[in-house]
Amino acid sequence: MAHPSSDTHSAAPPHGFAFILRRALISAAIALVLFALMIGVRTEAGPTGVLIYWTRFGDLAALVGAVFVGSIIVELIRTFLGPVEIARRVPDGLRNGLSALRRFAVPALLVFAVLIPVIFYQQRYILDLSILVLTYVMLGWGLNIVVGLAGLLDLGYVAFYAVGAYSYALLSTTFGLSFWICLPLAGILAAFWGMMLGFPVLRLKGDYLAIVTLAFGEIIRIVLLNWQSLTGGPNGISGIPRPTAFGIPLTAGPDGLAARLGIPFSPTHRIVFLFYLILALALLTNWATIRLRRLPIGRAWEALREDEVACRALGINTVVTKLTAFALGAMFGGFAGAFFATRQGFISPESFSFQESALVLAIVVLGGMGSQLGVALAAVAMIGGFELFRGFDQYRMLVFGVAMVLLMIWRPRGLIGHRAPSVYLARRDAIAADLVKEGHG
């Protein structure tokens, strides 16, 4: 991989034909090794259970050839353009335009989000998808507190989502408590479990923290799977009450909301209500994060991400700071979980696999750690993209993987890699992360 280092941006490197050819040959060789067995030999279980296989050397040759030609084209483009530093090539006028756009983007997106049920009232599919996307936006924002702000790599976030979902499911089906009482309880319980996770991992960071949080997520899932008497095990919990509009059920009956308002009943009402519910919850998460970032505790989280030793030297109690980050992140995960349970009406441990944690983490990382707008956009792109490529069927994951790799090459710090300062002085003057490199000299 040619590294576009900053000291070579004055002149295009003189990459001769031999260099390009060698590169392409190496790429083709790697492709050959990689695909020889994956594509070259196809195995299947035969009718009697024996293994049958046949070779597909033609496909293999085509693929390796494509890699070879593609590699030459990429290298030629690279030689032609020189090491591209897009940020430096964008004229100032355009960049100012973009930053103006960003200022309008947030209110515009917000207005659009509020209007989605109005615009797409007839399209149930889009409404359902929007609810799903917003759930992940909320989870992304919640995890962002832990990973993006406090810098604590948490691979078990789904555990808190699960705690929230099961809290609501159990409290409502066992004690008949309403959604609006269970919601804060689910948040509190999830926050409690966040602290439970926080205590043992106080001294860990980086890879070690990631492994322990991963294990924690699995422990919760496996407990849910095996504690038959309480959680129903793999059968999950069904018949979870649907949410009510503050006590008024959204049903067709005479005391339903539609009847009371004197409008004809439609099952879409409930969907619209759920939409606004998750929108409100997500915005609450966002609002809380933005507020907290400007308070000493928020600054302490960010400082903790940067340098724990320096934090202690500044009188910050790192134990409390870490635990609050875990607890708050978990709390929002718990809210989202309670919402998930009431939307689905049925939950089982299957919904809380590691893949969910990975997905939410990917949203945070792709969005740009710590950027609220970036996380929201990444959630839309990831979940929306997943749906968009449903037509590609088996290539869906491939398209997705390629898109993620390209994004990480193009914007290694995520979609919105810059961090808005939380302390303002005379004027706001954010510097894009890709314009300045970190110097420790």
Binding site: R299, A300, E302, A303, A310, A313, I316, D429
Partner: protein, 249 residues
């Protein structure tokens, strides 16, 4: 200075600390009186930084006693030591690279219970002392030069309204001109505001010129102490730390 010596602000007695089985401090006695600049000099690995860190509780003191303003702080956790307004500009500066200069300074201010108006006054004072930081307030800390980062580390410590400022090798890796600016700033702080400073340095010449008193540390023990200027004249100091090492500034 008045005739009667001021009572010590920081008292260290028979302090021992170790990393595993390796003893780093072997019974150190040291005093810092209010309003004084004290320099602790010594070669690499003598235990100077360890002494500073032990005051902050990491590594823990194995034996001995550390008292600040009459209060025993030997076993106090780091953040509580800091809350007594003992500030440090640690080794390697340890500023917050992704946060802006203004946010870095704010982190120091967060440690105090002073009002927002007081913070503004403190900020003006720090920026007056290090005008280069003023130009860089909205820049991220990681983009500053080494000298500016050191200024930021000291500035951040000053925002804590310290009663004692501890500096660990503020001249490390800096150009002589920048070092002089930083040492001038420390002198100003001491003379104008009566700030008490403990400075750990390898740059013996400049540190001893700046300090009222100095201690020399060798292998985890204090081998010499006295007035700064007087220590500077000692032949053994000259041989060990000046003529053989750095050139006179």
């Amino acid at each position: 200075m008045t005739d009667a010596p001021a009572p010590p602000l920081l008292t260290i007695r028979a302090l021992r600390a170790s990393y595993g089985k390796i003893a780093a401090l072997k019974g150190v006695d040291l005093d810092v009186r209010a309003g004084e600049i004290v320099a602790l000099i010594g070669a690499n690995g003598a235990g100077k930084s360890t002494l500073m860190m032990t005051v902050f509780g990491r590594p823990r003191a194995r034996d001995g006693r550390i008292a600040f303003d009459g209060r025993d702080i030997t076993h106090l956790p780091t953040h509580l030591v800091a809350r007594l307004r003992i500030a440090q500009a640690p080794e390697g500066r340890r500023i917050f690279p992704r946060m802006t200069v203004a946010e870095n300074l704010k982190m120091g201010a967060d440690a105090t219970e002073a009002s927002a108006a007081d913070h503004a006054v403190d900020l003006e004072r720090v920026l007056g002392l290090f005008p280069r930081l003023k130009e860089r307030l909205t820049q991220r800390g990681g983009t500053l030069s080494g000298g500016e980062q050191q200024m930021l580390a000291i500035g951040r410590a000053l925002m804590m309204r310290p009663r004692l400022l501890m500096l660990d090798e503020p001249s490390l890796g800096l150009a002589p001109l920048i070092t002089r600016q930083i040492f001038d700033a420390i002198r100003t702080l001491n003379r104008r505001d009566g700030l008490t400073v403990l400075i750990v340095e390898q740059n013996a010449n400049q540190a001893l010129r700046l300090a009222h008193r100095g201690y020399v540390m060798v292998n985890g023990e204090i081998t010499l102490s006295g007035e700064g200027r007087e220590l500077l004249q000692r032949p053994e100091i000259r041989a060990a730390y000046l003529e053989g090492g750095r050139q006179r500034a």
